[in-house]
Symmetry: C2
Subunit: 119 residues, 2 copies
Amino acid sequence: MDKVNVAQKLSLFTEHWSPKIVGELNGQHVKLVKFKGEFVWHKHEQEDELFFVVKGWFNMEFRDRTETIQENEFIIVPRGVEHRPVAPEEVSVLLFEPATTLNTGDQQGELTKHHLERL
Amino acid sequence: MDKVNVAQKLSLFTEHWSPKIVGELNGQHVKLVKFKGEFVWHKHEQEDELFFVVKGWFNMEFRDRTETIQENEFIIVPRGVEHRPVAPEEVSVLLFEPATTLNTGDQQGELTKHHLERL
């Protein structure tokens, strides 16, 4: 029940595409992640995902359009919708999603993280 | 699936203690609220609540201690734990909590909001 300082947690890691758990409530996880470059196209069959930009910006690509998400903006990607985050520069993002969510969704591969660190 | 700009949503209302729904995912709501002054002591029997400070700061009082939550910090209050937000100055807060959450929890009264506006 201690408070969490987002900047302090972000200072604890440098890897990209490796979400860290920083909170848990109601079966959902709060995660922090740094993106840089292009992720894989994927979708989540059972989970809606929220991406809140803490620092920087990135493009969320959908099959039919791209949304640019700036600092202090968020987007909710509903379950079943294919998406791909692309970050030309490093961006820090807070995620809010069910504890069951796998980062690469239905596309398991090299980028898949099965065991997330807690900070 | 449109992105949400937090500052733009906050510019749409001025009332205190009246959460607005700005997102929904996995049975959870994302809300924005402005606090000023003292709220009522209450708890939620079934819901954990996350308070993320977007602008300003406030004190989260518990029966045995007080936590000061600054900008870009959050605190998760587990179900069953009595708490009272106190904001000496206006603060803007983002809430993540189950869609079933009533703002005053087990203490229904004048401050209770049964029907929340969506922005």
